[in-house]
């Protein structure tokens, strides 16, 4: 359940985050700082605050929650879908910020060169900007995945703890500690620690090799 959530959220966020990060990296719009601030909010807000607002928004009696129920017949709260949406918001900065930095690093020069060689904006983005920002994509994917893997507060607020549906590892550990099942908590914690460390180590090894070249 945890891995499925993290993989799905990472994939979706790369799709959503790419145009957003591209826009943030290139625009001269005055709204940019506002959007940047909103995007970065999940970094500083306590997860419980975010979770609280999402819980209210997802409530079947709210506009969004009601629309969702009308559309799908299911509630967003305490469901896997709700968890995915909450995680998308919660992990957004971990996708957008590395991508935005990578796109800014690419700069305008190669894009102008591509245009002068007959490449339209989308063509130039796919054939020049994306390959040049590949390190940013790697960082974004790894950080998003690892961060979603370890989230707790938002999940607890929005998803609850339904086995097979919304129970993720971090919640399971919390419950085991609460019920003094330290042995199981040790096992799960060690697994999460190991996975997270392995992912980050892989990222930094790849990055280090890139810069040394």
């Amino acid at each position: 359940m945890t891995l499925r959530l993290a993989a799905l959220v990472t994939g979706l966020l790369l799709l959503i985050g790419t145009p957003l990060a591209w826009w943030l990296a290139r625009t001269r719009n005055r709204l940019r700082p506002v959007i940047e601030a909103v995007t970065a909010l999940p970094l500083v807000l306590p997860p419980t605050v975010l979770g609280f607002y999402l819980l209210i928004a997802f409530n079947p009696r709210s506009a969004l929650g009601a629309a969702w129920v009308g559309l799908t017949g299911q509630t967003l709260t305490f469901s896997f879908t709700g968890l995915v949406i909450a995680s998308l918001i919660y992990s957004l900065p971990f996708t957008v910020q590395p991508l935005q930095a990578a796109f800014a690093q690419v700069g305008r020069a190669p894009m102008e060169a591509a245009a002068s060689l007959g490449a339209g904006p989308l063509d130039a983005f796919l054939s020049v900007a994306s390959p040049l920002a590949v390190r940013g994509y790697l960082s974004a994917a790894v950080l998003t995945f690892a961060h979603t893997l370890g989230e707790f507060g938002v999940v607890l607020m929005v998803g609850g703890n339904i086995p097979g549906q919304t129970r993720v590892v971090s919640i399971a550990i919390y419950e085991q500690v609460e019920t003094v099942q330290y042995a199981q908590a040790h096992v799960l914690s060690a697994i999460l620690l190991g996975i997270s460390f392995a992912i980050l180590l892989a990222l930094y090894l790849l990055n280090g090799r890139g810069t040394a070249r």
């Binding site: 020069a109 102008e112 245009a115 490449a119």
Partner: protein, 351 residues
């Protein structure tokens, strides 16, 4: 090809205005002090900056009213100061990038040979020298089959050897003319050597446009240093090592000048290095230690106190001489008068 442009760009702290209509052929140098808008003019034409106004070249309208053709649809090739090769592709990949989009893949091998990059084709671009990279960039730009070539100081980041390598390639492009070239430069030597016509930018506007022969003297001269610019063709060296430079007014001999016969170049003749005489050229050559005696006709004599500036016509080419007013009076110089110009030295305008 006819160029019609009327473009205006307003940015905080900088504005630029250019109005010009004229035929574009060969190489037009865009020259002016830094910050005067040379590069802005190029970027407006390329479509990298969007200003107001209109822009047409030959049959293509690139900007008018609400119409703004984006850069990738303009059939303009831009060669930048830095080569701007794509680092994730090798040299062949960079050339193919342009060729695939313009449908010119059949010409890649040919252009690679022409710009001397054939042996680099499978190399990553990160290992290229500055000169090699710029040659790849030129080949890549030409593969777009452009209607207009823009060059933004393409030589200024290169060392002297690489520059000497690439200048003849740009000259060949100018002379074979697949497309007219707009060449931004702040190096007078480059402009003097390459330009057919010159656009002068000054304080955020396109101030003037005209034939290089007319504008170059002003670019090269300072107040006390008037000069004439002659376009000459190198002939084969004589046995004693002197090199004849042929121009419509005659022939000048200069020592120690390298370069293949038939090459065309430009020289500067300072007005104070031109003496004037009356009489017979052959007789004079036997009496004076000056080899370069050119028949001339006086066009204008301007007396300024003790000194006089004499404008001469040598076979249709304008030449300035600075002599004393007393000499002018003694020689009885007046418009229409035939005389002889003794040229003491010339300066080459190549870098």
């Amino acid at each position: 090809m006819r160029l019609e442009l009327d473009l205006r760009l307003d940015r905080p702290g900088f504005s630029f205005r250019a109005v010009h209509t004229g035929d574009l052929a060969g190489l037009t140098a865009v020259f002016g002090p830094s910050g005067s808008g040379k590069t802005t003019l190029l970027r407006l034409i390329a479509g990298f900056e969007r200003g107001q106004g209109h822009l047409r070249l030959g049959p293509s309208t690139w900007q008018q009213d609400r119409v703004f053709v984006p850069p990738h649809r303009r059939r303009i090739a831009t060669v930048f100061q830095e080569a701007r090769l794509f680092p994730h592709l090798d040299v062949a990949g960079n050339l193919n990038y342009a060729a695939r989009r313009a449908g010119t893949t059949g010409r890649v091998a040919d252009l690679a040979r022409r710009f001397g990059v054939t042996r680099l084709l499978d190399r990553p671009v990160t290992g290229l020298s500055g000169g090699e990279a710029q040659r790849v960039a030129l080949a890549r730009a030409l593969l777009t089959d452009p209607a207009l070539i823009l060059m933004d100081e393409p030589l200024s980041a290169l060392d002297a050897a690489a520059r000497a390598d690439i200048l003849p390639l740009i000259e060949a492009l100018r002379d074979e003319g697949p497309a007219p070239i707009l060449f931004v430069s702040h190096a007078r030597g480059e402009v003097a050597r390459l330009a057919d016509r010159i656009m002068l930018t000054e304080a955020g506007r396109l101030a003037e446009e005209g034939p290089a022969a007319d504008l170059l003297p002003r670019l090269l001269a300072t107040d006390t240093d008037e000069l004439s610019v002659l376009t000459v063709t190198l002939a084969g060296a004589e046995p004693d090592g002197l090199r004849p430079l042929v121009f419509p007014g005659g022939r000048l001999l200069v020592p120690d000048l390298p370069g293949p016969a038939g090459r065309s170049t430009r020289i500067a003749v300072h007005a104070r290095d031109v003496m004037l005489a009356r009489g017979n050229a052959a007789a004079l050559a036997a009496q004076v230690s000056a080899l370069n005696v050119i028949p001339a006709r006086v066009v204008k004599v301007e007396v300024q106190a003790a000194s006089a500036r004499v404008t001469l016509d040598c076979g249709g080419v304008r030449l300035l001489a600075r002599i004393t007013s007393r000499s002018a009076a003694l020689l009885d110089l007046a418009p229409g008068q035939d005389c002889l110009a003794l040229i003491k030295s010339v300066a080459l305008l190549d870098d």
